[in-house]
């Protein structure tokens, strides 16, 4: 059974008279440990799909099942708990909390989980080590470069050992060299830490890094030139 199942999901926005439908009954299955890139024109609905899978947006229709949980049926509060335990989110602009140090930013998701202080320390140390920023633990976001901030952002996303790591254009605001660094880091997250990774990107080179490459075109999901269909076998 796949880790993530998106089944006939639609998303509509009412914009006055007209309705925008960036997702029109899309379906997608992602296996555990996979690395999937999602590309497509600007405004095609990539972020929308990613946010639905991350549980921060609500689908107009359809089901999203992650590790056996239908997240479209969870209440706001339950969904928040679910995110804390299952989702690591890497933003385009890192979105670190400015009043907290790198260490505290990485620790933040763990504060939401039942965990002892010593366990927290251990996990933060491992995550900081993984992004090679142990020496910057006491620095505030404003004291770091864009690339370092994004690495802290990745450490924050992986620290709770989530079911899925999602990244929405994680290299969108970085230069080439730093982009390369971040992409390598994300590959390691997938290969060495065995985390399932879904990355939205504009950058074709970045998209090539993933094992599966999916495109969103006019509300439909395409892989290797064919439209993805509802995986009836899995949902039966």
């Amino acid at each position: 059974m796949p880790l993530i199942e998106v089944i006939d999901v639609s998303k509509e926005y009412a914009n006055g008279e007209e309705t925008i439908r960036p997702l029109d009954g899309v379906s997608l299955s992602i296996e555990e440990g996979d690395y999937v890139s999602l590309m497509g024109a600007s405004g095609s609905g990539k972020s929308t799909l990613l946010n639905l899978i991350a549980g921060i947006d609500q689908a107009t229709a359809g089901k999203i099942i992650v590790a056996g949980t239908d997240i479209t049926r969870l209440s706001r509060g339950k969904l928040a708990d679910w995110r804390a335990a299952n989702i690591g989110y890497v933003f385009q602009t890192h979105n670190l909390i400015p009043v907290l140090t790198a260490y505290e930013n990485v620790e933040l998701p763990l504060l939401l989980l039942p965990m002892s202080a010593s366990e927290r320390r251990k996990r933060v140390a491992i995550a900081m080590e993984a992004v090679d920023l142990t020496s910057r633990a006491k620095h505030y976001p404003r004291q770091m470069s864009g690339g370092q901030e994004q690495r802290v952002g990745i450490a924050r996303a992986i620290v709770s050992n989530p079911t899925v790591v999602v990244a929405d254009e994680p290299t969108g605001s970085l230069d080439d060299e730093t982009t390369e660094q971040i992409l390598q880091l994300l590959s390691r997250v997938n290969e060495e830490l065995d985390m399932t990774l879904l990355m939205v990107t504009h950058d074709a080179d970045a998209g090539e890094r993933a094992r599966r490459r999916i495109r969103l075109e006019r509300g439909r999901l395409m892989e290797n030139g064919k439209e993805l269909q509802t995986a009836k076998l899995h949902t039966a």
Partner: protein, 380 residues
Amino acid sequence: MLKFIPYVFKSLWRHRARTLLTVSGTAVALLVFCFIGAVQQGMLALTSGDDAGRTLIVFQENRFCPQSSRLPQDYESTIAKLPGVQEVVPVKVFTNNCRASLDAIVFQGLPPEKLKAWRDIDLQSGNWSAFSDQDDAALVGIDVATRRGLSVGDKFTIGDVSVVVQGVFKSPSAAENNLIFTQLEFLQRARGANDVGTVTMLEVHLNDTADPEALAKQIDQAFHAGPVGTTTRTKGMFQADTLADLAELIGFVHWLGYACVGLVLSLVATTTVMSVQDRIKEHAVLQTLGLRPLRVFGLVLTESLLLSTIGGILGVAGSVLLLSSTGMSIAAEGVTIAFEPSLPLAMQGVVVSVVVGLLAGLAPGWHASRTEIVSALRHA
């Protein structure tokens, strides 16, 4: 949730100028609030004290300023014979200022033995025998002593009255701490032969069974045809009547107390709204990480609670310090209202600031917790 307290403090500290302004504004408003409360409390203590209903004050009819009330001293023995009367204490009052004043000095002359028997005063320095042996001796209330810098041995003159301080006393009744006691005869002679044989008022202490109202009527009846008519009221009524003008003012000032609370509410709410607007995106990030909407609400509420409570505690502490160090009072026509700090008042101040803090955080907290994550993340 406690794990997020450091984050709340850091967020407040990040905008320290705004935070300090809000806290200090709250502190000032609560200082005023407590001050107003103390004035009201002082007023209430005068009109509802223990002896306010069980002691009668006999004054000359239609007179208000103590200088103008002159009762023959021999009324004392007439009244003492009435059934229900335990004792009559003749009192001569002298004040340097009959109008409402923040620094009126009020002298009360009483026979020393009756002073000792009927006033609950505790000498902090000096002694009784020096007071009763010396003609122009005075016992000074602790608040007057503090205000005027008086201590035992000092000579002290107001108008044509000159006394030597032979003791400084403290009384559980705050108003009394603003009085100066002398011997009755001294005050009678101090202002010319005119006053000898007259007193300003007679204090009638009743026994437990007497009916104050009936007795007051009886006394006024007895002197109705006499050389000087009297008006007899309970002590509480007497003080309330004397302070009627001030009471009206104080009743009005009371509204200013509510205004202070309103001020704190809008101040703290404004700051909290600003802080929520500054952090729409930050709250969305926290929710993405898995913070429940209810907890976002809690964070905002905690923030406004801290602002208001810290300010409140500072303001209450300031008012306690101010009131206890200055021993302020206001007097009119020889009756003094003392402004005193008190534990219930301080607690009331703190409770008000806590409640206001919670109220101020409700709307912004609700707003922050209801914001849609995705649209808030797009927020610049």
